[in-house]
Structures are given as C-alpha cells and as structure tokens.
Subunit: 339 residues, 2 copies
DNA sequence: AGCATTATCGAAACCGATTTCGATTTTTCA
DNA sequence: TGAAAAATCGAAATCGGTTTCGATAATGCT
C-alpha cells in the first residue's frame, strides 16, 4: 500500500484536512502541529499523489511539449533540442515537469487540445518552424496557456519566442556585402516553413537594400532543415550551372549539406563559394571549414519561453512575443577567417 | 466545465459504469448500447481524465525519463538523444507518453523513486553512462519496472540495453592492427563512467590479445564525454610529448576535441595521428577529416529498451539485458579512406 | 409454460488528494 | 471573570474515473 495522506494524518494524530493544509501553506494551523506533521512527512518521505492532487485542483504542474508539423522535428533537431534543454531547466526551477505527447499514440495525430485536457497540463510549448496547422490553431485559441517556439501563436493565452529573422538575414547580407560578394544565393526549407520564408523575405529585402540585385535562379529549397536537404538543394544549383559567389542557408545543417555537395564537385569553400549558415549548432565548430553562421541565442529563447509561459499560467501576462537578437559568428566558411 | 464521464452517461441514457466498461472493453455490455455510447463519445471528442484514471487504477500510461549522473547528460547529448528519440517513438506506438523529471525541482536532487510514485509512472528509463548512484539503486530495487540505457540495472523488475563495449574496443584494435598501427593511445571519460571504463578495459585486453604492449602514458581521461574534455585530454598528451600513432576516443565528441587540439599543434590526421571515435553521431560526417568510428545502433537500442520495458510492465519478462552489436564505420580519420 | 442460465446494466464504494464551513478551543479585552 | 473575537481543527463533499456485486431482463431448455 502506498503511503498516503491518510496514513500521515493517523501517524500525526490529526485529520486529513490538516495535513493537506500544512502541505499547501494554509494559515489556520498552529505552528506546533505543523512542526509535528512536517517531521513525520520528512521521516517517511511522503510525496502526495500527483493524480489525486490534479484531480482535485485541475492543476498538474505539468507542461506539455509538442513537436508539431511535418518537418521531422524531434529530439534529433540540433537547434530546437537546445532551446528545449534550456526551457526544461528553467521550467524545472519554476516547479514544473515536462510531458511529451507521443504523436504515434493517437492515430488522429493531431488533437493536441484534447490531450492537453486529458493530462490537465497547466500549459504547453509548441515547437515548430512550420506554418500553422488546424490542430495547433485549436490549442492556440483555447484557454490553455501556450508558447510557440518559432511559431507565432496569437491566442489570448498564447505567446511566442523567436529570433529576429529579418535581422538574421540583414546581418548575413551585410557581411557578404562588406566582403565584396555581390552574387548571392539562398538555400531554404520548404514553402511550408514560416521561418524559412521569413528569412528568405528578409534576405531579399536586405539584398535590395544594399543596392544589389536578386537572382531567383540562385534561390533553392529543400524539404526540411536537415543536411540531406541542403545537399540536394546544392546539387540542384550545381546542375543548373552558373553558381552564386555566396550562399546563405536557412540552417546550419542545410549549409553543411551544401558544403558536402560543393566538395564533391571539387569546389573550395570559401574560395569558390562562400557559405553562411544559421543557428550556430555545436557541429559548426567541428566541420571543415568551420561554419560562419548566425547564432540564435538558444538558451535565452528557452528561458524566455519558460518565463512567458509561467506568467501566462499565473495570469500575470496577456501573452505577446519576445524576439531575440541574433549575432554573426565569423568562422571559416565565408572568406574572413578570424583567429 | 470539463466534459466528463457523467455527462456522456447522461447523454447516452446509461450509467457511468456502463460508459466506463465500454471504454475498457468489458464484455458485459450489449452491442447496441455500446454503439450508441461510442457514437456520442466520437461526436463529443470525449477523452477520460488521465488523473482520475490513474488515481483509480494506479496506472498512468506514463513512462518516466531520468537523466542520471553528473556527466552533463541531457538533451544535448548527441548519442543518448538519438536513443531517446527512438525510444519515444516506440513507446508511443505501445500507448505510452513520456514524462521528464526536472532535476531542478527537488533540491534533494535524487529521490527518483518517490517521484515515480508521485506520478504513478508505469515504468521508467534511466539514461546514464555513469556508475550506479544510491538514488538509482533505490529505484532499481523497487517494484517499478526500469530500463537502463548504458546502465546495468539488476533489480527483479529491471533490465538494460547497451552496446557490446568489449567488442567495440576489439574492433578498434583490430582495425588499428590491420592498418599497421602498434602504438595505441586512449582517451576516455572520468573514472566514474562505467562505459568508459569498460571500453578501456576491452581496449587493453584487445591490445594484449594482438600481442602488442599497452603504454599507460598514452591513456588519458576527460571529465565527461563532451568535446572540450577531448581537447583537454589531447592537450595533456601533447604536453607530455611522445605521442602514440593511433588513438581511440571513447566518444565521437572526445575524438573531435582531440582532433581540434592536434590541428592546433599543426599535426595532421591521420598522417601524424590516427583517430577512431565511438557512437557514430551525425556530426562525424561533416567534420574534416570525416571521423572513422564505431557505430552504436541507437535506433535499435531505443526500440529494444521500449519493448523490454513494455514486457516488464506487463509481467511478461523477468528483466535481463540486451547487448547490441557495434559496427566499424570507416571514414577518413584513420588512414584507410573508403570511397 | 416454468425454471435455470446467461446477458446486461447500475448503485455504490473507492482511489488520494483539496476545500468549504461549522464546531470547538484559545485568546483578548473590558 | 465572562463574553466576544480569533485561532485551530475536522467532517464531509468533491474531483472523474474503475470495479465489484447484486438486480433485472433476456434467453435456453425440458
């Protein structure tokens, strides 16, 4: 038999309600009995059942984590997983644990809202670089607090965090420009990816802003943000002939895929083609050439997401968004080798 | 007000118990009423409250995930996260969701057993390459089904999966040997790491098995399995002078760190020093030189862990262990460049 | 038809907590 | 000292399910 509140009450010679009050910091219990009960709790190592508590209070201290979209986003995604890691830590100090919904469990694959109710999550975080789906929209519009990571949630109890994608692109273009590059290409994810689209838009705007011309032949797209997509996209560019001098890839993995294709063709980076990636994942440091990229502050994204969600849960916020500053990280793939 | 079983019962004109029976495949309910109720459930999208169900049955359909140990194992660990990803998928098709315990939430930091009871998890998976701690031991010895990943759990309701670490080492040594290397070094993690120790032991045995001599000067250790540790360990070797001709690193990241140090010293890989890593993480393909390594079948480790745990939960297994075969992946860091 | 089975259903106890509200005890203060 | 106020505590309802067991209805059989 599991240790429960009733047993604690009996051991302490008080009622169940008194024990409960002590555990929830009610004021109408004397210091003396409080100490006595606390001691027993300490000795026995009693922890209240989360299900019983959740049933009674409708609060579970659980945050749902949803990997949304069809872009293969899961634990193996090096960018999101770092944001998630930071988010988890921060949520932990705020007193919450994380629950991951299996997409496989429900054939419907999508009714996130029901599942949130099912587990009585206090809030949830939705991770996705994709355009809005219906199932997410339903959640967004519900009364369950939600935070999107790279996903623009607009509901009353929603918010989101993302990097300033326009600034990401303009930093890239500026760097290219200052190094003398004028023929700029782009490798993005699918048109389904909101983030990729934003970066592309910003890229085009920035190119025009610097008085250069955009050549659409040099804009290609993969199926997601992963390496093989970058490889395939670059292949496409190579087959068409007439390469740009510099390429901005919407993720580091896309950039690495592009580099692999380039190398296979006997091309040198950055001498023949300069490459800038995006995200600044760990692997950037180990590749050859080391990848020049735009760093997204993943730790900060995670921390902000956690705090926003916490405030939303506690009605101390009306939602909204946080946009974090990106930073250029100069390494070796773009002609200007620092240190 | 939340949609609950009572409301469904009223809508269908049956009792609460009947609805419950239908949802749990009891046989004592007629096909006719079953269909009627099912239809209402379908229409309303009713999902039973997990907390209520858990409270009543003591089964939560939740699997606890524990990152144990002090070796900085979390979502950013490229090997474990892939195992976890596969585990999560498989657990999903078996009908379970995952809950991640925050280490930050409880200052005690360790009472995993209580937390498992607190959430009524049906089982848990413990991820760690470290020696056994007390808090884990308690869980291991409890009646909660547990699976260790790279952690040898011995309890009656426990099991574990890991790669055949001796074979990993012997494959490395064999490869070195056949390529003519005779002066072999090793970079491991701390002495706290059971896995690292196993690989080291196996390495030594294999070296002796091939009639070579082991030189302890060439055996160094970092603080964990990450890149900076490999860098630091290699620095140590470099300062001592008199390098081995080939080095086996107990993880790919350690290998990459070592390579970075080597490059800084103007040494070439594999011409001056050959390196073999371990795990076969994604990054191996993007580095320069591409890393020759021993592949651990992460997907299979995850699937096996899931099935073992499922069997343990359903009393269809007495525990035990699964050891999966490693495979040599020849790339560029060890003198024999395939394709 | 009449009785024994079997099929179908519901009442009620229970799981382990929270919370309201009333009862009792203690304290305060004139 | 005695009445009013405040402090302390517990009984019981509640949350949303599951499960046992008895009641009733339907069916089988001679």
């Amino acid at each position: 038999m599991q240790l429960n509140i009733k047993m604690i009450a009996e051991m302490a010679g008080v009622s169940v309600s008194t024990v409960s009050k002590i555990m929830n910091n009610y004021s109408d219990v004397s210091e003396k009995t409080k100490q006595r009960v606390l001691e027993i709790i300490e000795q026995t190592g009693y922890l209240p059942s989360n299900s019983a508590k959740t049933l009674a209070t409708k609060k579970s201290s659980l945050i749902g984590v949803i990997f949304a979209g069809e872009l293969n986003v899961d634990f193996t995604h090096p960018f999101f997983v770092e944001v998630l890691n930071s988010f988890k830590k921060q949520m932990g100090v705020l007193g919450y644990d994380l629950i991951f919904f299996s997409n496989e469990k429900f054939i419907s694959g999508g009714d996130y809202f029901s599942r949130c109710l099912h587990f009585h999550v206090d809030g949830c975080v939705i991770i996705s670089g994709q355009k809005m789906e219906n199932a997410i929209q339903e959640l967004d519009m519900s009364s369950i607090p939600c935070i999107g990571v790279d996903l623009e949630l607009k509901g009353k109890k929603s918010g989101y965090v993302m990097s300033d994608n326009f600034k990401i692109s303009s930093k890239v273009v500026e760097h290219f420009y200052l190094l003398g590059y004028r023929e700029l290409g782009f490798i993005g994810s699918t048109a389904d990816s909101n983030i990729s689209n934003k970066r592309e838009e910003g890229y085009i705007k920035a190119i025009e802003g610097f008085g250069m011309t955009v050549n659409e032949k040099w804009f290609v797209h993969g199926d997601d943000f992963f390496e093989p997509s970058g490889y395939a996209a670059m292949k496409q560019l190579l087959q068409a002939g007439n390469l740009p001098k510099a390429i901005f890839a919407a993720s580091d993995l896309l950039a690495l895929g592009a580099i692999r294709a380039l190398k296979e063709h006997g091309l040198r980076i950055p001498e023949d083609v300069a490459i800038i990636g995006c995200d600044d994942i760990e692997a950037c440091k180990y590749t050859s050439p080391k990848l020049t990229t735009i760093r997204q502050n993943k730790e900060r994204l995670g921390v902000l997401a956690a705090h926003m969600l916490f405030d939303l849960i506690n009605n101390q916020s009306e939602g909204g968004s946080f946009v974090v500053e990106p930073a250029l990280v100069v390494r070796e793939s773009c002609g200007s080798q620092n240190r």
